[in-house]
């Protein structure tokens, strides 16, 4: 989910669906089969892999099918700090992105309403980061935040940062990178719900002598809740699984490794496929629990 020009929208009114199951089947079958073979089956394959045990032959990367449930306990014991860190970083980045995005989305969706051209320009600016390589824009931040960079040295000159402090490789820079990279995922859905906000409700609030803050809290926020809900999901999910920002060559260090980094290392470097699979499934399960909780909160099962 890199580009995600995603946004909430009202459920579209379908023109009376007809029942012609043969045509429907013809239209659906290729795509659905594709997803069954290359999305669902791999997830099942992950379940089998997660229960494997190292092969008796002893080759690295050779595993036999078994029901080694122990694998789950092993990875949790070994990698619980990474698991907690992932969810901690992702939560912090989601909150930061929400705080940055909401006023921005409000400005574009409400204040720029009477200026369609400016509104289009503003939206283009919001999605502009999607058009430059994810890896390069993260590396750009690494260089801007680096110890030799003017930012760190000027912060040190004004004593805002201790002379021996560094920004890159710290949890701060990882959360900073995650926040930056996923802001558009947050801004767009909130913008879409605020763009549709009927300002007469807000005016009614002030007519009834509510303070601007009360009106905002009791009218604007609840009406933009669908956008906030999908924005937080769209930020949190990719942030929790991301391993580029936290990687050593980018904004992180060994001490900031997230669950994604561990899965990558186990799968691609150590060839410990069962561990990588078990961790992937744990991540997936945690996210599914979260999503279903969210879906229930938002009161609709209709996600697509």
């Amino acid at each position: 989910m890199a580009f995600g020009a995603f946004a909430t929208a009202e459920p579209v009114a379908a023109p009376t669906p007809r029942k012609k199951s043969r045509i429907a089947l013809f239209l659906l079958l290729p795509g659905i089969l594709y997803l069954l073979v290359f999305f669902l089956a791999p997830l099942l394959s992950l379940v089998f892999t997660s229960l494997q045990t190292p092969s008796a032959i002893g080759d690295i990367g050779a595993y036999d099918y078994a029901f080694q449930w122990q694998n789950y306990l092993t990875v949790m014991e070994l990698y619980w700090p990474n698991i907690i860190r992932s969810f901690g970083y992702a939560t912090a980045a989601t909150i930061a992105a929400l705080l940055i995005s909401y006023p921005l989305a409000y400005f574009i969706g409400v204040n720029l309403r009477r200026f369609p051209l400016l509104q289009s320009l503003a939206l283009t600016l919001v999605i502009a980061p999607f058009f430059i390589s994810f890896l390069l824009r993260t590396l750009a931040w690494k260089q801007i935040l680096s110890d030799e960079g003017w930012l760190v040295s000027s912060l040190q000159t004004f004593s805002l940062l201790p002379p021996d402090a560094q920004l890159t490789g710290t949890p701060f820079s990882v959360i900073f990178g995650l926040t930056y990279n996923f802001i558009p995922f947050m801004t767009l859905p909130i913008y879409t719900s605020l763009e549709r906000l009927d300002l007469r409700f807000v005016e009614a609030g002030s007519d009834l002598y509510a303070s601007p803050w009360t009106t905002f809290r009791t009218v604007t926020i609840p009406l933009s809740m669908p956008g906030i809900l999908s924005g937080t999901l769209l930020t949190f999910i990719p942030a929790a699984g991301d391993y580029i920002n936290a990687s050593r060559d980018f904004l992180g260090s060994v001490d900031t490794a997230m669950i994604g980094n561990v899965i990558e290392a186990n799968f691609l470097v150590l060839q410990n496929y069962p561990a990588a699979a078990a961790l992937s499934l744990l991540l997936m399960a945690a996210i599914l629990v979260l999503v279903s909780f969210y879906v229930r909160r938002s009161g609709t099962e209709d996600l697509l």
Binding site: I32, Y34, P42, S45, Y106, A140, M284
Partner: protein, 289 residues
């Protein structure tokens, strides 16, 4: 909660309700909000400007500190070893994956809006799940599958992976367009003795085209920039993001910045053109209606 894609890109203003007569006043807060937003835009653009500026850097081994201005990186793009082939691979994968994903996704989108069938709810769930799954899980799952099946990884497996995660985004984007289509237009086609084939290709398809184009652009952008799923399923094949990831340890050549800048400007031109054409279409519709 409805997740909707793509539409934002091209039809943003089309969904805007008519501006209310009474201007909404937030007093001084409005200017504060404007200033805040300008700062936020600058923040969002910093790494982009950085990347473009450093594409003109006369770098030696690593492109980290500014040395001098040069156009050489732009004129001799392929000097840096492997950059051009990685770029070509990304374009190839992006185009093939986009064509397949757009075709499959468009068919599903039409079926979902137009037909009632059993397993509709499970189909919707199957389409939603890939978008709610972290990339690292999608990548590892497919890689585990290829490993079990003994499939050799390369450009082919990258394309398979990219089609898989693009389909859902295409469905979401095209679905909105199908839903807004007036069925009376197709009925008129049938009344005029158009065969189902003629009705589809002469009426339905042209009307869906803006949505399909938006979906294809989104799909290409997703594919072109994907690193995580790609790296699990690429084997020895190198795409542009994979090139950058490997180069990050030893130093990115400025030629990579050039390619990223070219892609950036191309995308901006496409988005602006789409907005201008949709604005022109709206104006035409207003004049006619």
């Amino acid at each position: 909660m409805t997740l909707q894609g793509g539409a934002v890109l091209t039809d943003a203003a089309a969904t805007t309700p008519a501006a209310p007569r009474r201007t909404f006043r937030l007093g001084a807060g409005r200017w504060g909000l404007a200033a805040y937003s300008v700062i936020a835009f600058i923040f969002l653009l910093i790494p982009i400007v950085y990347t473009i500026v450093f594409s003109f850097n006369d770098y030696r081994r690593t492109n980290i500190t500014w040395r001098a201005f040069t156009l050489e990186n732009w004129t001799q793009l392929c000097n840096a070893q492997g950059v051009c082939s990685a770029f070509a691979n990304s374009i190839f994968v992006g185009v093939v994956a986009t064509v397949i994903a757009t075709a499959l996704g468009t068919m599903i989108a039409i079926a979902l809006v137009r037909y009632r069938f059993r397993f509709r709810a499970s189909t919707t769930l199957l389409l939603f799940l890939p978008m709610a799954t972290p990339e690292v899980v999608l990548g590892a799952g497919l890689a585990a599958q290829f490993l079990a099946a003994g499939v050799a990884k390369g450009l082919g497996t990258i394309i398979i992976a990219h089609v898989m995660f693009c389909i859902s985004f295409v469905v979401v984007t095209v679905r909105a367009r199908v839903a807004s289509l007036d069925p009376a237009l197709e009925e008129a086609g049938r009344d005029l003795y158009g065969s189902p084939n003629q009705v589809f290709w002469r009426i339905t398809f042209p009307l869906l085209l803006p949505g399909i184009m938006a979906a294809a652009l989104l799909s290409f952008a997703l594919s072109f920039d994907d690193f995580i799923i790609t790296t699990f399923n690429s084997g020895p094949a190198v795409t542009f993001p994979k090139y950058i990831y490997t180069a990050a340890a030893r130093g990115i050549p400025a030629e990579a910045n050039v390619i990223a800048s070219i892609v950036f400007f191309a995308a901006i031109i496409i988005v602006v053109a789409a907005q201008v054409s949709s604005a022109a279409r709206r104006k035409r519709q207003l004049r006619q209606g």
